[in-house]
């Protein structure tokens, strides 16, 4: 019991009897052979999950860029944040140099806008202005 204050006791926490047969149940569990290869099964499940994820990504990509289409899906960052602006060639905070005019001319869309133009998929990512 806690030392510094009188416990609330059974008025607040009446003691309940656990259901009978608990020890016998535990003994049966301890007697049962432990499943072998449980860790391996876990890794198999993880690998299957990864495989399913990769397949879903491949299907998505195939849908976005079907055979015979010359224009790949385009990712256009209209106003990249400073960290990205320094990395991407031709990019700038205003989104002028190096980017298609259609993107620059587009009225500032909502962040993460998905648009379909000329049978290509364009993602517009408008970061918060950082002036």
């Amino acid at each position: 019991m806690c030392e510094r204050e009188r416990p609330l006791g059974p008025d607040y926490f009446p003691i309940l009897d656990p259901p009978p047969g608990g020890l016998a149940r535990l003994r049966r569990h301890l007697d049962a052979p432990q499943p072998r290869g449980a860790a391996a099964a876990l890794w198999r499940r993880r690998a299957a999950g990864l495989l399913a994820c990769a397949a879903a990504c491949a299907l998505l990509f195939a849908g976005l860029w079907p055979p015979g289409r010359s224009v790949p899906p385009t990712l256009i960052i209209v106003a990249p944040p400073p960290a990205v602006a320094g990395v991407l060639p031709g990019s700038s905070a205003s989104g002028e140099a190096g980017w298609p005019e259609s993107a620059a001319a587009a009225a500032a869309p909502d962040p993460l806008t998905l648009a379909f133009e000329n049978d290509a998929v364009t993602f517009y990512w408008v970061a918060p202005h950082s002036d």
Binding site: C2, R4, P7, G9, Y12, F13, L16, R25, L30
Partner: protein, 173 residues
């Protein structure tokens, strides 16, 4: 040195009831509380060499609290638990005649709501202090928090419970 099977069984005989009562106040379902107790001992057994006999009790209670907490979160996720669902749980009555039983059941219901209203960190401490036969030092070890934090959280929880139950005559049982 790992726990022997006899030691596990001795631990079960010693701590089944406190563990069951602790977990019951977490889940409010008897069958599930019994399942969690079994799972805690099974996990302790599976930990094998990593368990030192002197720390087995703290480890056992930590496992039980974590398993119960995880199940509770999972239930909340599915919308099975919450104050609105507590009416489905039958609080135990200890009274012998009918009017007293009814009053006692209502009081148990109010107590359940009061315990449920405690933030989890307070609930963990007060339930361990009251039901696990632990001193502050043991609770601090089980929950891996400082001793002073145990004392302050326990006092805060007791204060809230007493306030919540102020309208009930708690000594009539």
């Amino acid at each position: 040195m790992a726990l022997a099977r006899q030691e596990i069984e001795a631990l079960y005989v010693q701590w089944e009831r406190p563990l069951y009562n602790l977990v019951y106040r977490w889940l409010w379902q008897r069958d599930e509380a019994a399942d969690v107790v079994q799972e805690a001992f099974a996990r302790l057994w599976q930990m094998g060499e990593r368990v030192r006999p002197e720390s087995a009790k703290a480890l056992l209670f930590r496992i039980a609290v974590n398993v119960a907490s995880k199940r509770r979160r999972a239930r909340r996720l599915w919308g099975w638990v919450g104050l609105e669902a507590l009416g489905a749980v039958e609080p135990r009555s200890f009274a012998t005649n009918a009017p007293e039983a009814l009053l006692d059941q209502e009081r148990q219901q109010a107590l359940m709501v009061a315990i449920e209203a405690l933030p989890e960190k307070l609930r963990r401490v007060v339930l361990l202090c009251e039901l696990a036969e632990c001193g502050y030092a043991e609770v601090a070890e089980i929950l891996a928090i400082p001793l002073g934090t145990v004392a302050s959280r326990r006092n805060a929880a007791v204060k809230r419970l007493r306030q919540a139950m102020a309208g009930w005559e708690v000594n009539h049982v």
